[in-house]
Symmetry: C3
Subunit: 417 residues, 3 copies
């Protein structure tokens, strides 16, 4: 592999530079006036300018940066959870995203401008990050099982497919707006990734691979990713919404859906695990399902409590998916989904598609069961204080680790005495 990957990468970068040279230009007041400025969502890929557009650039730049943090820090660190695959998780994420955003800019621009030159503005940058997200979701499904060259090919193919699909949905079929892109990004990325994982199925990995587990600190690194994804998801779902009231609604609905999702994800995780302990895999992933699921209808005028309901259901479905569906996928359908992207992006993405219909007809029929039971509070005994294992499943290696240090400690004390 010594020369294959570097040559592919450098060749691709040369191609990108050439394509940018041929097709991409600055957004300037001059070139702006030569075109009709089309305000609709669908043509964001295209050509929007004038000096008002310059203001728009700086208005949206903070939201773009939020999305950018999600793509590089969020997805990147979320994929560092494996004990021996952290460099690859965060490192290939950076590589694929940096490649994907160049390629996404080109493909999306060319499709929407029908092969003509186009101007490079804030919507191009946001949409490039979005196209990159599909690749990173799919990357999660095949994490640990592919070579850099394979990922590189996947990036090129998937982003082209995504751009074509997105063009069909918004421009040709004029279908339902999908602001937060539950379907076009999350479900698309998840099922694309699952398809690849299915194609690359390896009987040799049927029994759990010894490397396919976390250690204590790798799980904490993954939480960096989770938290930045969680915090900035309202920006993700609202960045390309129509300015004003729609963008406002996309923000608050996503915010509330995510908050509700955390509560149900924790509850379900505790419910399905032995002795009521929480599973870090659920916390790292299922707490985000609310952001995926509310995406499609985020900017619609659904009642606020509907957004919370969608988030609550997403949290429940996602944890159940991790617990019961993933083993089934692996054993019956021969699909090994390393990060469980089906449970984070696939199911909640489909839920988001359905929710845009259901949410409207949803009644106010949920006002029941308000009686709170008064529990005895389960205070941990003294000897278990400051120890995660009371409430959390902890990787075996960490426990070993500690038994070990006591062991070494004794030995060394003896040595030193």
């Amino acid at each position: 592999m010594t020369f294959k990957f570097p040559l592919m990468a450098i060749s691709l970068e040369v191609v990108m530079i050439v394509l940018f040279g041929l097709f991409v230009e600055y957004e300037t007041p001059q070139n702006a006036s030569q075109h009709n400025t089309s305000q609709q969502n669908a043509s964001q890929q295209g050509n929007t300018s004038s000096s008002a557009e310059k203001d728009q650039f700086f208005q949206l730049y903070p939201l773009f940066q939020d999305v950018h943090v999600m793509i590089f820090v969020g997805f990147g660190f979320l994929m560092t959870f494996l004990k021996k695959y952290g460099f690859s998780g965060v490192g290939f994420n950076l590589f694929l995203a940096a490649l994907g955003l160049q390629w996404g800019t080109i493909v999306q621009g060319l499709i929407h401008k029908l092969g003509q030159k186009f101007h490079f503005g804030i919507y191009n940058m946001i949409n490039a990050d979005f196209s990159t997200a599909t690749v990173l979701i799919s990357f999660g499904a095949v994490l640990g099982k592919t070579s850099p060259s394979q990922m590189l090919i996947m990036t090129i193919l998937e982003i082209a497919t995504f751009a074509g699909n997105e063009y069909l949905v918004t421009e040709i079929f004029k279908m339902a707006s999908d602001t937060g892109a539950s379907m076009t990004i999350h479900a698309f990325g998840a099922y694309f990734g699952l398809a690849v994982a299915g194609v690359l199925y390896r009987p040799g990995l049927r029994c759990k691979h010894p490397n396919e587990e976390s250690v204590y600190h790798s799980d904490l690194f993954a939480m960096i990713g989770t938290l930045f994804l969680w915090i900035f998801w309202p920006s993700f779902n609202s960045a390309i919404a129509d300015p004003g009231i729609n963008q406002y609604r996309a923000i608050v609905n996503t915010y509330l859906s995510l908050a509700a999702c955390v509560i149900t994800a924790y509850a379900l995780s505790s419910l399905v695990e032995r002795r009521g302990r929480l599973d870090m895999v659920h916390i790292q992933n299922a707490t985000l399902a609310g952001g995926v699921a509310v995406g499609t209808c985020a900017d619609m005028e659904i009642p606020l409590y509907a957004a919370m309901t969608i988030g609550s259901i997403a949290g429940i479905i996602s944890v159940l998916g991790y617990k019961f569906l993933s083993p089934l996928l692996a054993n019956k359908l021969m699909i090994q989904d390393t990060c469980g992207v089906h449970n984070l992006h696939g199911l909640p993405g489909v839920l988001g598609g359905l929710a845009s219909i259901v949410a409207v007809s949803w009644g106010k029929s949920t006002a029941d069961c308000l009686i709170l039971k008064i529990p005895v509070w389960n205070q941990p005994p003294d000897e278990n204080c400051y120890d995660d294992s009371v409430s959390w499943k902890v990787p075996k290696i960490r426990e070993l680790d500690n038994r070990f240090f006591q062991h070494v400690n004794h030995n060394h004390v003896e040595h030193e005495v």
Copy 2:
């Protein structure tokens, strides 16, 4: 505990959804015109709208996101410093904050609107994060000693108390503005937490618990929290200040107070530790005391050097608190304050209250002692290069760790030979 926590959590989420259904609405131009728009700080919980309000939403959204990062990444990772309680630190922080912001929205909205429906805008989101901060501060005091169900109850009670207290202070007594909330958030959260820690006092934890210590990398995780809190604190103290000059002053005063606080916190830490080494506990916490202490008077027209003076004093007081007061609290007053929130939020919060009076009468009497001594620079000897322990107290386990690896190294080399 298998069913208690999940049932409580799900029931609470159902209650939240019902309450949002009954009381919370979108902010729209339509509903905006039905109400008087009250501009004062105190009524930010209420109903502010019109299309100008939509602009305000997007103007404040970046500041809200800064605060959001502080709540989830800042507080979350700050509490990962214990060697075996990192999952709980960052994980329960996420759970409590997600619950707290829903409950905070409801309680604060209902109190300020006297039980009527209210509209959900950017001030509600910022204030919800603020109410959550009180809980997370208190959480720090009882870290490692409470069950999830106990924390859940604490969240509900504390936020209700906070909202009532804040209403009394601003609406009934019309008391001094407390923009950065030194008193209403930080001192309140700290003393509430200390009260809970006092109630939950355990004689069994009197001798230092073996789990109550950090390891090398857990201290680095905590620094992620420290840095994001430090960076975004100017946004925290200015987010709900009056727009314009007051907001500007709140930003620059907090910025300067924090910068000054870092210098004195490092100096004092080095001064009180043996051989002049720095203590990571001080660095992680006392460097933030300047943000707490300057809060109350951040938006007042105090001279810039006064903000720096407040920060300098806060850094000194906080380190001294960690060194001398915390052991006293634990031994004499039977209050075991795990994170030392009294030194980070309690004392500096009270200092902030006092400072709003003192700062005004403060003279320009500090212009002395400008003579810099020329020291010999203490260059470390070669064998200590690249080693923290020259300048820092390092957890014993890390040291062990290394002795161990050398040990194993030798053994393995032998094995392999």
Copy 3:
């Protein structure tokens, strides 16, 4: 050293407070009208106000916060890569930056206002962070080999030199704009640091010091720094550009240069390492060289593909520097550059200076070699799945670590049986 460092730090803080008391004032509409508002880039240190200036403050505040994250989280965590020097890396970074921004404000303000009082606005805050960046770059060169007191002196001297240099370049010689400061910040900081490293040369460190290496998780901590630097670099290069089209160009050119740089840095890293594996040192550093190199011409009207070309070349040069030049510097020129700042800031900074000339005369002659080879994709064998060492150089200690755990595991299983 017990008293030297604390006394120096506290004395310096007292001096800062006095200087702020004597020379620095709020920016207010009142004091604004007493001065001519000078709009040019060069006088940003000075006095810009009026209520329009208040708007500018809040427009630039998000960009300032991006830069702030780079300084404290970006540089801070980038310097945690050494296995036993992480506390110092991130901790001294915080101390030096907090001191540097106070001192930078004073020195830059006094120079530009010729010793008169000046007003403290958003440009002062951004430029203070910039002056701090030079110190942190130099800190990287001497990482692990200096005492806190030495660093403190370096901070004071270097920022004074930087401010003088910057004043000469922009005010006296009216030389080329250097928006992103390839030369005045990055090359300056790097060569200043190299000079210090040369002065402090130690024959005793000629053979590689046992502490001068990373462990698995310290490399992941460093990636936190890399990613935040990478994401927010467009804000760094555009923060003080002329508002409007120039600022827009600075953002998109930096963004594209960085994306291209990642691709070539990965390619070259794989090319120069044995068996095509990637080196984390290259990934952590060389991926950022594109941001340095494009700095000087970022806001010029260079074609977009030129920005990408600059980034591509920077990535290549930087990796080659790490591989071939750093050992040469250490052995022949007696300069031990711990972080390799010469390869990240020095070379790309000089490249940036050259690029501002070259970019203009650059033709469109790069449109060739579009033929993509169809490679066999190098799928890893089953037993290597989920293991970084297929594609990455992994610190020896991590590998040991795992061998060890298996070892302990066996022992303990025996013990328990």
